[in-house]
Symmetry: C2
Subunit: 268 residues, 2 copies
Amino acid sequence: MERLNRKERVAAILKILSDNPNKVISLSYFQDNFSMARSTLSEDVTILKKVVEDIGVGIVETVAGPTGGVKFIPKMKDEDKFEFLNELCNKLTSSDRIMPGGLIYVNDVIFSPEITNKLGILFTNYFIDKQPDYVVTVETKGIPLAMMTARYLNVPLVIVRREARVTEGTTVSINYLSGSTKKIQTMSLSKKAINKGSRVVFIDDFMRAGGTAKGIIELMKEFESRVVGIGVFVEAKTDRKLVNDYISLLTLEGVDEHEGKIIIRPNK
Amino acid sequence: MERLNRKERVAAILKILSDNPNKVISLSYFQDNFSMARSTLSEDVTILKKVVEDIGVGIVETVAGPTGGVKFIPKMKDEDKFEFLNELCNKLTSSDRIMPGGLIYVNDVIFSPEITNKLGILFTNYFIDKQPDYVVTVETKGIPLAMMTARYLNVPLVIVRREARVTEGTTVSINYLSGSTKKIQTMSLSKKAINKGSRVVFIDDFMRAGGTAKGIIELMKEFESRVVGIGVFVEAKTDRKLVNDYISLLTLEGVDEHEGKIIIRPNK
């Protein structure tokens, strides 16, 4: 790489940090690649801290010690968050989304890379302090959202299947009761998927009574691991939930099939 | 936003472009947000073109005309690509990955955000000129990879289901013959998912005979749409494929269960 001047180098360092969210990159990596002195690098990092704060996209953090360096953590400002969630609610209230049984069509929203990317940043902001080792989801519709969250938390994604598959080797399966339909359901996960003693965050697109989340808590016990956070995009308003401690971004208050009305609001 | 000096501004512009891959952002957006003259912005863009080329992460492109502006397209250099694919092959040849029936365990690789992120950039490089309107995949294991590809191509992701679901409204289902097992399989997609006359890229984690890819081509015909590209992470070496025109990154030459050997190589 040819020697870059300061304005080029500052942009280059931010690009590299931003492409590796929540990953500590050693100072010597930058010193070697950009042939620069430690003091110059410190000045560049100071500039970057100001830039990301100024445009409100996250924070650049210096990590001290022998394994130290610098890392970028994406963040969304509160005002941007509420604007974004309000826009989503507006999008989701159009009456042609109403499906039989009081359900709403959300695939275009939860499969949109632009939207799930932002949702992934939001969940990262909620769960980064929990220091998870994995993001876990259950197939199928929550996968894009869980993937983006895993990307920004910089941990592996784990996808729990509805039935055991031959490509997963030895699996652990549990049966659980769906909270709303009261049907027995199965979930299955490869024994290789999660190390013992892990901390996991469970991400899903939708929560009704919370049966799936409760199932995941049980399944993780089989792996001697612990659910340290639960995040869902939309929760349906219900009398009671089977889990207490969770984050939901939107609440579906109700769907009126006759009137063609959907009531959905962002949570505080 | 307070006024940034040039080195801060250049970094800020690159961050914004890079967070919105393959999306044209108007020059006036930057002029308004950073209160700068058009000529100054042009100079900044020239600097950025040099930076991204220099560190080998993509290209910054100026788009002329009334809907014009500037956009960032991520790219991986050929040398980085071959190093990356070789590393993946090394990772994938460890004998504890062998599953019954000559299959190999790949979930940790295809669910790793760091790896799928890079694979998404590779597929974007292959398919961006096809100007797709959607990235399509079939549940479940290819979803993270398809999501990352959709993110960098900046198009919606579409997930085809194995069976029709009530949350998808009216669906179109087709039956197709699995190329390797010769079993009848079903795939199903909401009628809302794809507009008529669309161009789609199909992304999947694994291809044996290509039955699923062929099924997707048939399914897209029902939507009066066309598959303009097929990309798979790993293809198994087979006598013949049911589709001709596809990109695969790695070829699984063979698995020797007795010897505990996996032969897998990057494609040229």
